[in-house]
Amino acid sequence: MLTKKGKYGLKALVHLAHMPVGQLAFVNDIATGNNIPKKFLDAILGELRNAGFVQSRKGKDGGYRLARPADEIKVGHVVRVLDGPLAPIPCASRTQYQRCEDCNEATCQVRHLMLEVRQAIAEVLDQRSLAEMRDIVIDELPVTVKVQA
């Protein structure tokens, strides 16, 4: 599941993807513009920098910018770095596997289905780039909601 950390990280990156190429964004602006606690955002941006998605500059005029074009960074790349292996439930991950105390994994239908869900998550998130996420037209959303209802 996407944690708050993952969500904030993606929002911060979309914010950076809106900036003119090469221009730095102030951490304060990213935090206030997206309702992200500043301290948490600092930690998240640090991790994104270690993974090579953003670059930073220190000092009075310092800030962050994308290290690569927004269409080269896939959403799945970012989520794995911030939240770890993509998995809808901890027992459906291979490297971060956690056994459920209360069920037998060999016969657990829920886990079985969640393995399939994991594939679907990876497929969607690895296809979509930051640029695509940035350009999502929100007007379409109510239609989807209507269809589901």
Binding site: A51, G52, F53, R68, K74, H77, S93, R94
Partner: protein, 450 residues
């Protein structure tokens, strides 16, 4: 792809080494009666290329028999061939590690092609041409391949399967087995540039020739490839693997993964092999900077862990290292004084000190593709010269799309000229070995013929 599949029925494969034969075999699985496959090879025998033309019995495959079937969907094919000819013990199973001599593998591919030729003889779907190809030119209806004998062949499209590039040896060094590789006194000391699997091949060949002199093997890091050990690759999923990060981040993750598994008593080989199904995906998702750094700094380490040798071969090599017959040197050649023999100055990577070695011969086993645009293959070179193709950003192969279509100098993706095998390593990275090439050929065949 269906619209395209209907229109394609004639295909020329340029290069009849291992990847060319594997490509032809996959195409001919199609039921299309109008299919025409033309395979062109300049060497006297199909299915050999550089990799499998060695006749030395000591030159064995670096992959166990179970991984060497020509067919992606029939992994037991090579094993059954071996069994059918009594070349493996009845008690052995495909899971038994068995590293067949490479000459035997060439025979397997040769016979496989013979069978296909016999089967397709009434249909006329397969045509073999023994000739050197000079160039490929797109025409309005397809492609035209010009041959060295002055004739040409035409088809809807061409697939380049020219394999490993034969780059000229560097400076005073020569290629083993080339014309310059004349008889040598048995006790003459020699130098080998490179410490990888090609150096091991050179050592085995020298052994078989009765050479007993000292061998100095020099590479930047002086690392010897590791031996295979029977194991079970760990199961990984693409959801677990950090994609698209900077190289250092990925390497950190992978080291941790190995450490964790080792704590649980799992051999590092099983972790390295567990990653294999995802190697192409990892490569393709890396930013250009990570790819460059990998090729420059990390590849040497990766290669000795990933591209391993048969345990028996490893035992022989390490024995020679321990006895002083082979000396591994981490450093670089800084000067060569030619004469009756060569005086070679090598600067140590660690101490920076220069040591001089007097050797009778220098063999080039560095195995580095220096620049594909200077390829010794005229087809490849002429594509680049005319702007119909271009080197990949690393210049280790031709730039191709994820669908194996070559990309022109101006960025246009070709619909008519495609490539498989080592030539596509800029896009697919690990595409040197049969287990990967057969999967690529199966996919391409499906893409083209449905």
């Amino acid at each position: 792809m269906s619209g395209r599949a209907n229109s394609i029925s004639s295909i020329i494969i340029v290069g009849g080494g291992a990847s060319g034969v594997v490509m032809a075999a996959h195409l001919l699985k199609s039921a299309n009666p109008d299919l025409r496959v033309t395979l062109i090879e300049k060497r006297p025998h199909f299915g050999q290329g550089i990799a499998y033309s060695t006749l030395l019995s000591a030159h064995v495959l670096n992959v166990s028999a179970a991984g060497m079937s020509a067919y992606a969907d029939d992994p037991g094919n090579f094993w059954r061939w071996l069994q059918g000819r009594g070349l493996v013990d009845r008690e052995q199973t495909p899971q038994t590690p068995f590293y067949a001599p490479r000459s035997l593998y060439a025979r397997y591919l040769g016979e496989l092609l013979d069978e296909l030729e016999a089967r397709e003889q009434p249909t006329g779907r397969l045509r073999l041409i023994h000739e050197e190809s000079l160039s490929i030119t797109p025409t309005t209806s397809g492609v035209e391949v010009a041959l060295a004998n002055g004739t040409s062949v035409v088809a809807h499209l061409a697939i380049l399967a020219t394999g490993h590039d034969e780059q000229p040896a560097q400076g005073h060094a020569i290629r083993m087995g080339s014309e310059a590789d004349t008889a040598l006194d048995a006790d003459n000391p020699v130098m080998v540039l490179g410490t990888g699997l090609s150096m091991v091949d050179a050592f085995l060949a020298l052994e078989q020739r009765g050479h007993t002199g000292k061998i100095v093997a020099v590479s930047r890091r002086g690392l010897l490839p590791s031996p295979h050990r029977k194991g079970n690759p760990i199961k990984l999923d693409v959801a677990d693997i950090p994609l698209g990060t900077q190289l250092s981040y990925f390497v950190g993750w992978f080291r941790d993964l190995i450490k964790e598994n080792q704590k649980a008593g799992i051999d590092w080989r099983d972790v390295v092999d567990g990653l294999r199904p995802f190697n192409q995906k990892i490569w393709q998702n890396w930013p250009a900077s990570a790819k460059r750094r990998f090729v420059e700094h990390t590849k040497a380490w990766w290669d000795i862990h990933r591209h391993r040798m048969a345990p028996e071969v490893y035992a022989k090599v390490t024995e020679a290292v321990q006895s002083g017959r082979i000396r591994l040197v981490a450093g670089r050649v800084v000067g060569i004084a030619p004469g009756e023999a060569f005086s070679v100055d090598v600067q140590s990577r660690h101490s920076q000190l220069v040591e001089t070695f007097d050797v009778a011969r220098i063999y080039d086993c560095s195995g580095i593709v220096r620049d594909i645009s200077t390829s010794s293959n005229s087809v490849v070179r002429s594509l680049v010269d005319r702007g119909l193709g271009r080197p990949d950003p690393m210049r280790i192969g031709l730039d191709v799309s994820a669908n194996c279509e070559i990309i022109a100098g101006d960025g246009t993706v070709s619909r008519k000229i495609l490539a498989v095998g080592p030539l596509t390593r800029g896009t697919f990275f690990e595409i040197d070995a049969i287990p990967d090439i057969r999967v690529q050929c199966a996919r391409l065949s499906k893409q083209l013929l449905g």
